[in-house]
């Protein structure tokens, strides 16, 4: 997606434009991700899952969305 009003963030290592006025929770929903399975690191700070709902995604944010995968 894109548009004059879109904001730019660094998401999982790639530059991306996302809708403005979006919370982390909203971002996850827009990506069709279940919040309880994802851990979010915002600008090198790990977010408490309870904070997803009221933490805004802002221009220039660096976001890492991680989860558990198979490993030894």
């Amino acid at each position: 997606m894109s548009g004059n009003d879109a904001i730019r963030v660094r998401l999982n290592g790639a530059d991306r434009e996302v809708a403005p006025d979006l919370t982390v929770r909203g971002l996850l929903e827009s990506l069709d991700l279940r919040p309880e399975l994802v851990v979010v690191e915002r600008n090198r700070e790990i977010l408490d899952r309870k904070a997803y709902a009221h933490t805004p995604v802002e221009e220039g944010d660096t976001l890492e969305l991680v989860h558990f995968v198979g490993g030894g």
Binding site: V38, V39, E64, H67, F68, G70, G71, G72
Partner: protein
């Protein structure tokens, strides 16, 4: 083990928690998730390791292990596999804890890409930091006793020396070092990495260690589920043999039937 048999061995106690199985298994490299789940169940393992990775924003659904693995059925042990510095490992450990399951971490700091051998110095550094932050650290390391002793001092709940390099399947190359580490440490010792077949797991347990952790030996077997059954038995076999106290070995033969009472 059957009920009767559990009487033969106590639980594996790690960080104040009891586990009924001394076998810990990984979840990587399986052909598919169905085989993975079947193999893990067949292995009887209660603790399973998982890795922390970025969500692949295109195909996350298939990836997320928790779509397949029930955290109520298995105790999740997140690892820091793929980390090359203490800071990186600490970062991954914190992310893993934030997932909200537990504060346990399989600490792994790699020192070399070609051999994936551990960087013991960085591992020690990260172990201290994480233990101070309240993590229950299970530290993957090489078979060096001195490092093992320091990891114990750093507060690790378990020290996990390798049998041989990750994915090599060479088995316990240096039983002397493994044995010595077990002799000297008070925290449980888990042999991690290098087991390739059932006898390797038995040999590891026969050194007196408390458990074995494996992944490739199951995932890369022609029949992972059958191999998982094999490993379950192998770990019990090695453990009970060690507890039973094996016969002395000698070069000279000794008859097993009476030498008296032969006919004329």
């Amino acid at each position: 083990m059957s009920e009767q048999e559990t009487a033969l061995d106590g639980p594996l106690t790690l960080g104040g928690r009891d586990f009924g199985s001394r076998l810990i298994v990984g979840t990587g490299k399986y052909a598919n998730n169905e085989v993975m789940i079947d193999a893990i169940r067949a292995s009887g393992a209660e603790m399973v390791t998982v890795a922390v990775r970025r969500v692949d924003l295109d195909r996350s659904k298939e990836e997320a292990i928790l779509h397949h693995l029930d955290p109520d059925e298995f105790f999740l042990l997140a690892n820091t596999a793929g980390c090359y510095t203490a800071d990186e490992a600490v970062r991954y450990a914190r992310l893993a804890r934030a997932a909200g399951f537990n504060e346990w971490i399989k600490l792994e700091v790699i020192g070399d890409q070609a051999t994936i051998l551990p960087d013991v110095q960085a591992t020690l550094e990260a172990a201290k930091t994480l233990a101070d932050e309240g993590f229950k650290v299970m530290a993957y390391t090489n078979d060096d006793l001195i490092t093992a002793l320091r990891l114990e001092d750093a507060g690790c709940v378990s020290v996990m020396p390798l049998a041989s390099p990750i994915g090599s399947g060479l088995g316990v190359v240096n039983p002397y070092f493994i044995r010595e580490i077990k002799r000297r440490l008070e925290v449980p010792v888990i042999v991690d990495a290098g087991v390739g077949t059932a006898s390797h797991a038995a040999v590891a347990m026969e050194q007196g260690v408390d458990g074995v952790l494996m992944n490739t030996a199951l995932a890369a077997a022609d029949d992972p589920v059958r191999m998982a059954h094999a490993m379950k038995h192998a770990v019990i076999a090695g453990r009970l043999a060690w507890l039973a106290g094996r016969m002395p070995s000698r070069e000279i033969a000794v008859p097993s039937s009476p030498t008296r009472g032969m006919l004329d």
